[in-house]
Chain length 342, copies 4
């Protein structure tokens, strides 16, 4: 018998991706889909690629009977999510895909998001959802906070290195290349096809991107002292994918060995042979993350690359992986499909 | 226990797509992969998106022991395929993805392909692989000839209409828009990104495209008299997808009813509500075909649209669907994944 | 001394394209740029690709002193345009790029656009801006109505054939493939990169697209009797370009000769050698229109293709071409730049 | 009277771009076009977007009478170029777009290109073609070596900073994002549309890209001591454009002031307001380079961005700019067209 699942905010891209994944998951069953502004519409209207599925129509959140729900994915906008989750039954297992519970410290939250948190008391309860590094806590958690998709990519490249102390903590540069679906389905001029295709540009340059809050929190925790990386994301004309190019100082072979050993048993994080580089197109639509290490010609420097699909491993796939742990399912169930190429 | 599968010509796009599908199929297991020019290489070198899989290395065809193979997919180039299949064990079940066994009449074959067939005696044996119209024959077949991807798309729009006699057989126009992966992984100047992206153009215009051989054969068979359609394909800057825009003369409501009833029980062919139109992006990466009917403002005319993914429903997905029938598996096994959007 | 030019509605794509063209035109000089919602902003904020130019800031229309203006381009939204033009000085030369003055008959206008025209008296005055067919009228005109970009493309393929009577007037099918910039810079979900790229679909199918008003008007005028074509546009993932695939019944050689002779002296409409097909990528960014004719394998049928850049020959380039005529400049001045490829 | 121009290697992208630019240049006239393998073909066959032009057919180099030629652009492949140029008349002015004369030191050349130079004696004669930094030498030169397109982009960001000593010379990281036309029209699997679109990846990572030879030569010359930067290029799914993201250590305001003052009088290099970032789409098809400076949140660090079109400012536009100087024309003639957007 399958677990009953609700998806709040099912009319966005991460919501649709959750439906795609859960549909192929033998242990999960979609019981409710919410979408405040599109309540009453069939999912096939909002996402015609799902028209072959027999899905509940979109409803308002307060129409859902959570008594029958085993686990709830929240794919709501930032700030809305905390208000909704605050009022959900306290017994309900929740995987939140928004930014609202990623930062543990209320002050950090206020610094990066500019408002007081509406559910401060739950910030501490929430477990940070980077599965490979919080597996045990997630298994026991009631509320898991999905990571930022950029934040996940950068952490796959760097976390083991910072924990092992094999790189200079004051000389870390994260140059990210992001596809457009990470920005969601919002109507913004810079997301139009005519504005975006055939060109690329940096954004939030210089250290203003909110995912830095996650980097600071997690890297400092691992290092046992404050770590502040440089981080510049770039928007690239593709729909899915994040590529992190990480410039670090340390011995390339140590760096490679550290990553190779850290991920040796991981089902979804694959370290390429030394010197090989990943491509976003080789993880597209999948839950895999490819990590590559190259020694630079400048002695004592290396480049660490990580590539994943922002909608899958970067958000909805990660969310299902965490739900698997929370529900006692095998962690990989429903997530082993190969990337779509070409 | 799973059926043992060989894929000949696994280094092309349809080969990789077969691997993607079979990997998720509980009843099939890849036992051998051939690639003459890349023999000895690991599949992960040729297709890094498959590096998470434990696959046999590419080998030469004559290195395969077919005694242990239950079914063989041939994804070889045209002309090569007939020579290879001619010499395979006569007991082996085969799904051929090339053009070599699509035309039953040796003269037709010579007309469209310009050479004498190397396995004329097998042309008659081969069953045409358009599953929805040859289901019983395929179930009993040893050799199934996968259809052209353009030919499949046009036939989903037209076959039931021609069979039912609800359209004028002398006024059929098929305007197709095709994505680039249909042209394969060949090194041709016009397939380069810089040549192809940001523009679109017709090709093989005026009735020279080889898939017309299939249209003529199948449409004439259904009509019981010669039917010659007009067919113009166009190359569009996307990787996957075929959209057929079919201009027909007849009553739109009759046309809709005919299609709706013909596909009512089909798991993969979905007829949209009357007046709605399909999009290739809503079938991308899936085995579904979406069919739409719109009445034209000119009385007595209608437009029938069909959209599918050329690499899935148009070739490798169709091949697995046929293999399921040939092996006694459920027809839909391994093929119900949702499209990838966005 | 250069003519002083005002562009109303300069914050949209056709506005920016006018600036690009006029900047290279030795006889024209931009004196005023309006943008109601962005008034006060520099053009370089709205269109950073124009930041090297010394341009007037965007203003409101009522801030412009039209006494110093020789010619005004109106790139305003439909309906707004007619209200603005109605109140402009009667001596001012105007090239309107909106749909407001394309249809001469007030009833036709109401049928296709759904509202009563706010400047009915000017509808008759306006000259239809398809330069090659209204050259003398445009030279003498005060108000020229730019054509629809789809309408222009279809007419380049068909007008000479209808005028010459070499095709069956009751069997004309226009299948168009349009790039996205034709839809403008409006914030619509279906114009987002993530929605539009990697797929394609028909829209306004069955005869509901407003450009049919122009086809009906112009084709019927040329034929001397009502002509109603079938017209289905498709949205393709590229930024610039329209390709018309026109299915006609008649002798291909007559058709070719008619087009070849009609355009023999035209500087911008190029008829390819018989049997060759055009591509949108070969006219991108230019004012050229490529026309190709192919005989179909079905006797007595032909396909006529036309390709142009919707923002240049389809709107802003056409507008400058017409302005050249109205101002007594050489028709080709500022418009002979080669396409941008790749 | 216009100068007579020959283009050797006119069948590649930089050749076609030269034709596009020269066609609009009032002082230059194309007298000969070579293309060894396509000799005898019309340019309109090889590049249909140029079919409106009256151009000489492609010929073999030894068919050209160089006596009538004032200046020759060599857009030949690396290695071929040095052999051809060695044997051209010594009085002929030459702008070479290949890599063959970029490095002055024969040993450096051998290190990066792996072979002995076939015209060592001309390496010293050649002037490095980065116009803004070698203007006087170019004016007097007979042979100018066009820069690498990546090398140009990186140098626009860094040269003034290195010369002024405002950044740490041992901590320079160049992360480049390159469009595909920079790789030329060669038939390589990784340049196919199906392989390249919808994804992105690094290449030549770790310090193996040949343009590092240029960086080392020029940066060390400016610094007066060896400078070795880190350089990682990435291939992005677009046709034109290079974006350099340069991570440097120094005071952001000093860095900005240095660049602003260095480029204050430059017609083609535009420094954006402090804190603003460039986009490749805003220079597409033009000869402009946009430079932006952003202070990082980490004290004492800054990011310098530079964006240009690899085929224009990065190669053929630069070549025409240099030819203008060599011929005594105004430096900007024929090069001031606005970018094509969208």
């Amino acid at each position: 018998m399958a677990y009953k699942i609700a998806i709040l905010g099912a009319s966005g891209y991460t919501g649709a991706e959750l439906v795609r994944l859960i549909d192929q998951h033998p242990g999960l069953e979609i019981a409710a889909l919410s979408g405040e502004r599109k309540a009453g519409q069939a999912m096939s209207e909002v996402f015609p690629h799902l028209r072959h599925l027999d899905l509940p129509a979109l409803c308002k959140i307060d129409e859902i009977d959570f008594a029958g729900i085993d686990l709830c994915f929240c794919a709501l906008p930032h700030k809305t999510s905390q208000e909704v989750i605050r009022d959900l039954p306290k017994s309900l297992k929740i995987v939140d895909l928004s930014a609202d519970f990623r930062l543990r410290d209320p002050e950090d939250y206020q610094t990066w998001y500019g408002n007081t948190h509406a559910a401060v008391e739950m910030q501490e309860e929430a477990v940070y959802g980077l599965t490979e590094f919080y597996r045990d806590e997630i298994r026991a958690a009631r509320l898991v906070a999905g990571t930022g998709c950029n934040a996940a990519t950068g952490q796959y490249a760097l976390c083991p290195l910072i924990a092992a102390g094999v790189i200079d903590l004051d000389q870390i540069i994260l140059d990210l290349k992001c596809a457009v679906s990470g920005a969601g389905r919002a109507l913004k001029e810079n997301l139009l096809h005519a504005e975006l295709s055939e060109g690329y540009h940096p954004y939030a340059a210089g250290g203003t991107h909110r995912h830095l809050g996650e980097f600071d929190q997690e890297f400092s925790r691992l290092a046992g002292r404050p770590v502040k990386v440089q981080f510049t994301p770039h928007l690239v004309p593709a729909n899915r994918g994040i590529l992190a190019t990480t410039y670090v100082q340390g011995q390339a072979q140590d760096i490679y060995d550290t990553l190779h050993s850290a991920y040796a048993q991981e089902p979804f994080v694959i370290v390429l042979p030394f010197g090989e580089v990943p491509s976003t197109r080789h993880v597209r639509g999948s839950n895999f993350c490819h990590v590559g290490v190259v020694a630079d010609r400048v002695e004592g420097r290396a480049i660490v690359f990580a590539a994943l699909d922002n909608l899958t491993k970067g958000s909805s796939g990660q969310a299902v992986q965490n739900a698997n742990l929370m529900l006692g399912e095998d962690e990989t169930t429903g997530l082993l499909m190969a990337p779509l190429f070409p």
